[in-house]
Amino acid sequence: MSTMKREAEIKPASLGGAIVSNSVKSHAGDPVVIKKAEGAKAFFKKAGFPKGKLSTFNHDTRG
């Protein structure tokens, strides 16, 4: 196993953990990023938006 990998225990508040760095540059103007965003906008025009999270939703997916 790579030394770069590590195990993370998943708890409701534990997803995350980024190391903030000035070396990470913005890709907001990247042609692929823009194209994908435009594609997503077109998709939602067709599909509409989901209702969002519901506290009453049953997460059981065993069916």
Binding site: M4, A8, I10, K51, T61
Partner: protein, 147 residues
């Protein structure tokens, strides 16, 4: 529950992330980029791919085949956590660059779903409608939202 992932870096505005995939093909730099596409409801698009080593731009159609797809997806899941905590937990749209890649996302989400469903609500689009994620269904696109 354990979810193996790569360490990753974030930009100061938490919109851009990068990490290195390590596998049979070597060390490959990956990018995750969030971009707002709608205000009400608040929706961001997630763009993911390799960094072009020549100019630093995102390549979304490269097939790395580095034998670590699940680790990569787990890392992306972690970036969603960071991003969501800084941007009001919006909906995040995820779709592959091809139908095959979307199907691979589906398979990877299914593998880790039991571990992430307590943290994220995942919905999928199929047959003209959104529904809450089911492991045995094939979707055209996904929306993830931190609970």
């Amino acid at each position: 529950m354990n979810l193996e992932h790569y360490p990753y870096l974030s930009s100061r505005d938490y919109l851009d992330y990068e990490f290195y995939s390590e596998g049979s093909k070597g060390r490959i730099k990956k990018l995750v980029v969030y971009q707002k596409i709608n205000d009400e409801p608040l929706v961001y698009n997630l763009a993911f791919g390799d960094e072009d080593p020549e100019n630093g731009t995102l390549l979304d159609k490269v097939t790395s085949s580095n034998d670590d797809r699940d680790t990569i997806l787990a890392t992306i899941a972690h970036t969603i956590g960071d991003f969501s905590d800084h941007y009001g937990r919006p909906m995040i749209h995820i779709v592959g660059s091809t139908i095959v890649r979307t199907r691979l996302y589906q398979m990877s989400i299914s593998k880790i779903y039991d571990e992430i469903c307590a943290v994220y609500t995942v919905q999928g689009y199929r047959d003209g409608a959104w529904e809450f994620f089911q492991k045995n269904a094939n979707y055209e696109a996904f929306v993830v939202q931190k609970n």
